[in-house]
Amino acid sequence: MSESKPQYRRWKGKSVGLWKRRFAISRYGLRLCLSGKIIKAFLFIGIGQALFLSLIYVVFGQLLTPESSLVNWIEKTGGERAVTIINGVTSWALLYPEICVDGFYRVSYFLMRFPASLLSIVIVALFIHKLIAHDLASQAIVIYNSKALTRWDYLAGKFTIVATILSLVWIFPILSSWLIGNLLAPDWAFFAHTFPSLIRGLVVGIVATLSLSSIALAVSSLAKKTGTAIAFWILGWISLNLISDLSRISYSWFEYVNPLKSINELSEGVFKMDSLITEAQNSLPFIDRVVAKATSLQSLDQIPASDGTLLAPLIALTAMSALSLFIVHRRIAVS
């Protein structure tokens, strides 16, 4: 048997509080979930999004600064034509900052949902089996349930793991790019002009993070084997996508069965891109021609207004999250 048999000493030290114990679940789980190389690579793509957006905002800010080295470089290499364009852009920004500055941020945050959605599905697929499915398969959940934490604490700890990882895809790029872009902008007024876009981006990002986290936990808790959790996650999205497509020929509420479509619709409702384009059309007439050309339409008037409403997707996502958390709570209860 053991050669070294130190005398068992009872733990006499100071115990950490309940919140630190709760935090221990998340920290321990995060270490486990982020242990793979592939998931780190995908997370780097998410962080790369933030860097890319930051770079665009910095370039945008520098373009609006007449004496900036970027403008000087363009003047030297591009000639008079480039100088005219830059002067035009600067003038528009000064005249209509709420459209040119805020609008630029708004468009980029609106478009960000596409890579974020795709990355979320892929990244969660890479670690979903290490959430609750792992504990259920090994039956270690019985031991966790007997520790000095409630079942809700366990659930909150697991939720924090998923939410933290997903926020690196949905929230971190928005926050960090907004901060870097504005800190390096030519004017502190940029903070004020872009603040509404930040709020819009955060609303969509937070709702997406919370709802997708709940759903990921539910899927993980439904699987009894770690391998089936990944299969459930991927097949689940394919099925939900098919069901939501049925909304075209069947009940319209089928569309909300797919959380990503609900997030899309919520995003349309929050960002109100149609009203931005209308404003731009009224203030900057050349936009009308550019967009019309791009969309092969005669006029912006023919672009259908977004039917994005806030209430229906919010209700759908809330209901789906509540159902997911209920399922998880039932699954982790010992029966």
């Binding site: 050669e3 048999k5 130190p6 030290g13 950490v16 630190k20 019985v142 007997s146 934490l149």
Partner: protein
């Protein structure tokens, strides 16, 4: 002595399936054996004690408090489950460190605490770097014991802890439990290996079909059983004559002569064993061997559950 666990009219159902029904008992400090056949309600009771199930009716208290959603109380309880509830991909130290932090031990101290617990559970350090999935059942039992004792609980609950251990392992396991008891811990242990429980425990709680049949020390439980008798096998020169002689003195409930040996059921075992030479001396029968055929806890268990 005040009870550490008390149940009053405690019932627990899984839908329409009975887990425990109207059970009332008290468990005092010390090592208590939880005895009962499969489906008796042992695991249900253990889950109730460790706060994993809520009673359907009645009340259960541990150290005077309800264990359900009570982290402060659960911090005083260590639980070693029956099945192999270990994370197979992890190494024991990693797993125990995570569990130690859930029990409120600061992270910087978890490594030393986990190492001490593994040493205390007598898991050879050369296995500490292997993944738990590669462990034998006995090694997993030791890791599970280590996680149950590492946060210094006042009550340790063990569900079939001897499963998968070889005789040496069982003996070592019993020694560890006795040592923990000597350090002031109370232990509730369920097992099917009754003779080891008898050796280990001072008190017992016998369950059957979701009901508590008896609780207390062996002699206290035996006193509650009417018509209790010990079974003796005697090899002698004249079995029939000896049986008649003992029956004439009103010492036995019945007898059976089989292949030259006498099997008899003694009415009052303690009196009989104290005075048996004088009881048999008048029979003029030559005695070659006397054997108590039934081990006390096993026969007591059989008597109560059949």
């Amino acid at each position: 002595m005040s009870a550490i666990i008390g149940a009053k009219e405690l019932s627990c159902f899984y839908g329409i399936v009975l887990g425990l029904y109207n059970v009332t008992f008290e468990i005092e400090p010390g090592i208590t054996g939880l005895v009962g056949p499969n489906g008796a309600g042992k695991s249900t009771l253990i889950k109730l004690i460790t706060g994993q199930l809520s009673p359907s009716s009645g009340a259960l208290t541990v150290f005077g408090q309800s264990p359900l959603n009570n982290p402060d109380l659960l911090a005083r309880i260590g639980y070693c489950p029956e099945r192999e509830q270990v994370s197979k991909e992890l190494k024991p130290l990693d797993w125990l460190r995570g569990l130690a932090s859930l029990s409120g031990i600061p992270w910087r101290n978890t490594k030393s605490v986990a190492q001490r617990a593994l040493s205390r559970a007598q898991l050879d350090p050369k296995h500490w770097e292997k993944r738990l999935g590669t462990y034998s059942k006995g090694m997993k039992q030791r890791v599970k014991l280590a996680q149950a004792i590492m946060h210094d609980p006042d009550l340790i609950v063990l569900d079939e802890p001897m499963n998968g251990l070889d005789p040496n392992g069982r003996s070592e396991f019993c020694d560890i439990l006795k040592e923990l008891h000597n350090q002031g811990k109370s232990i509730l242990v369920s097992s099917h290996i009754l003779h080891e429980l008898e050796f280990l425990c001072s008190r017992f709680l016998i369950l059957n079909w979701g009901r508590a049949l008896a609780s207390g020390s062996q002699s206290e439980i035996r006193n509650t059983v009417t018509e209790w008798s010990d079974e003796l096998t005697i090899r002698c020169s004249d079995p029939k004559n000896l049986a008649d002689h003992l029956e004439g003195q009103g010492l036995i409930r019945g007898y059976l002569v089989e292949n030259g040996t006498l099997k008899l059921w003694v009415l009052n075992p303690e009196t009989f064993f104290d005075n048996w030479p004088s009881f048999v001396s008048g029979s003029n029968v030559e005695i070659f061997e006397i054997k108590n055929s039934n081990q006390a806890l096993t026969s007591l268990f059989d008597k109560m559950t059949k």
